[in-house]
Subunit: 413 residues, 2 copies
């Protein structure tokens, strides 16, 4: 079945609010095997809404609408849709009574305006709204399904969960397949290098499909359509093992896992503790690591050593090393990592020192140059990266690389 | 002028990500007097994208697209649009050279796939992308304007600000009135308290208008429509002074200013230096402060003291204080702030210690309890806040409050 969503609201077109409803509905439908083809947003304008709705009804089996169910003149979704479908609007006495009770409980009489919230296209099914005054509607008409929902996400979500999803599951009961996705998370490989490595798999595969996802990290989504969940799992597993054979070295986790949560689990399992010494990332590595609940079990402390003095005081970096090689050098990074581990009495110390810009760059050491160090029992390493872009981006990428260095070390032990 | 936005990406239709781009572009266009009529999302499918684009070109003067500019086979926005407009795709040698340089700097050869990111519809203008490998494009053709942008918001936003908005302002120069906005940034006041304080102004005003903006911070946008920029400035100034009279104490800056950039300027002007001691915020305060270019002039160092041991070692918090009052207490926070300033030899020390959850709470000290300390020449203060919500939200709000404490102190000196 093909579905699409029409969001109604001028506030969306003005960019005053982010469209959460559409993401929410789409995410809920995906596991039901209902294919989403379009999202459209239109203002509180009867003619444009009617045109958009007409087109949707032509090309999709299920049309969702969100918004435009309030009591004001601006709110015209139900009326416009009923007109286009050739359905009369009729009063539901039960809903009217319910609305009046709501207002009485709030200690006020129901304004006349709100009466229209109890009017629905004839022959439709009401979707109760326990968190607001606007009920939703399901209209079944000429093999098409129209599901009309209010705009506020905190009203829409329970209405989807309590009424719409069970309804859709019932009617799609003859649909024999489920859809399941697994997202693989990668680090240390670029999007195009990734694609080159598995290009043939992407092309060959139609079920499961493989798709690289854009974002701040490189990720890969495997989606399988199968008669049962167990079948889908097996299909995903089989394809995943092919992918693992090619680029397994770069896959750090899947689905909800983050690089910092995976590092946390590895540290816990190995019983190792960690401290961080950062200069140009200014606390971001510590912040990422401590965003994981329970990180106090392995994260001992972090040093944000912005000044040379602090690198000497806290990490015992010799002044002569800073003078000879500079604060941004693998030599200084090595001392910082060692100093971090030693002074905090942790197993592992990681360090970052670089030039985040826009100022501070020289010909020899341009903006974006970042050095890293790792100190661990019987192991030391340093590394240099050159990033381009703006301060925020350089800091974010250096943070990601710092975490990757920890992950690679833990993986190899 | 009528505009609409087409978002390209199957991940949007599957509900895997929220469509931020569309909100961002819409919000930016609104002050220019460009009317937004439709938002459409379509998957990575050439035929459907082409149909949607054709319709958009018929009914709008300006068509924006976001997404589908990556190096992979899935990315087909430019090619599809060029085909529909009857334009050839041509290689921009400069962009290719630029891309190759980017990869060389990262220490790798450019994969062959990325070559397509340097191909553009003939006669188009390239929009530089300083935060990614996918440049955007402006195509002017038969009285229509097509603006093609990449999907990641952190790439799209600066491209809009640096290139697209100035371009649109130039071409809409024949328009006889200008629209100017000023965004006031507030801290220490809630959204509803703010609205109550200036409710009458919001209602009375039609030009300039006042609108509270949603987001992670409380902000207020003043928008004036006037014959000249100077007139608009005068109108904004007049209204702003009325607002200042009522809630000036909470306004820390405007437009691009951030709490950390304003703090930075105040520290520079007063010649003061700062150090930070954080526990539950795990480095976020240091990260915010050092995100400001030039922060090394006043930010000396930060301590992320997660363990009790680190609080004693680095900040000289007496073990007896931790034992008697607990690590999360105003007493410990006071010692942390003082220890931070003293051991780093800075003028000001700020501290945060709290329970970010979800574990670690008790009846006396529940999750969300956060204590703050400030130590400065001849001045000491402590403070306790109780936040609700999840770990990430508690950490973010504690970070904001910590910065606010520094700002309030600097303002009062």
């Amino acid at each position: 079945m093909r579905a699409e969503i029409i969001s109604v609201g001028t506030e969306l077109l003005l960019g005053q609010i982010v469209n959460i409803d559409t993401q929410m509905i789409s995410e809920m439908l995906s596991p039901l095997g209902i294919d989403m083809y379009y999202h459209t947003t239109v203002g509180d304008n009867s003619e444009r809404l009617r045109n958009v709705f007409r087109q949707a009804l032509e090309r999709s089996d299920i049309v969702f609408t969100t918004g435009g169910l309030g009591p004001t003149m601006d709110d015209l979704t139900k009326e416009t849709i009923a007109a286009e479908m050739g359905l009369k609007m009729v009063l539901h006495e039960d809903e009217l009574a319910h609305l009046e009770t709501l207002f009485t409980r709030r200690g006020s009489a129901m304004p006349q305006n709100n009466r229209k919230q109890a009017m629905f296209p004839e022959g439709s099914m009401v979707i109760p709204n326990h968190n607001g005054t606007a009920p939703g509607v399901i209209v079944e008409h000429h093999d098409k399904l129209v599901i009309i929902l209010p705009g506020p996400p905190r009203e829409l979500r329970p209405m989807m969960e309590e009424t719409v999803l069970p309804f859709l599951e019932r009617i799609s009961g003859d649909n024999q397949s489920v859809i399941k996705s697994k997202v693989l998370k990668l680090c240390g490989i670029g999007e195009s290098a990734l694609e080159e490595a598995i290009q043939d798999l992407i092309k060959e595969q139609t079920n499961p499909t493989i798709a690289p996802l854009a974002g701040s990290e490189v990720t890969l989504r495997i989606t399988a359509k199968a008669p049962t969940w167990a079948d889908a799992d097996r299909m995903i597993e089989k394809l995943e093992s092919k992918i693992q054979d090619r680029i397994g070295d770069f896959i750090y986790g899947c689905d909800e896992e983050t690089l910092e949560s995976v590092i946390g689990e590895m540290l816990l399992k190995k019983g190792l503790s960690l401290s961080v010494a950062e200069s140009c990332t200014g606390g971001l590595i510590s912040a990422r690591l401590t965003n994981v609940a329970g990180s106090s079990q392995y994260f001992e402390r972090g040093y944000v050593c912005y000044s040379n003095q602090s690198k000497m005081d806290l990490l015992n970096v010799p002044e002569s090393v800073i003078n000879q090689y500079g604060a941004v050098s693998e030599e200084t990074a090595a001392f910082m990592a060692k100093g971090s581990a030693r002074s905090s009495n942790t197993d592992i110390g990681i360090s970052v020192t670089g030039i985040a810009g826009p100022g501070g760059g020289t010909k020899e050491k341009p903006v974006g140059l970042v050095c890293f160090g790792l100190f661990a029992p019987g192991f030391e390493s340093t590394d240099t990266q050159q990033y381009s872009g703006q301060r925020t981006s350089i800091r974010a990428r250096a943070t990601q690389h710092g975490l990757r260095i920890i992950w690679e070390y833990l993986k190899s032990r």
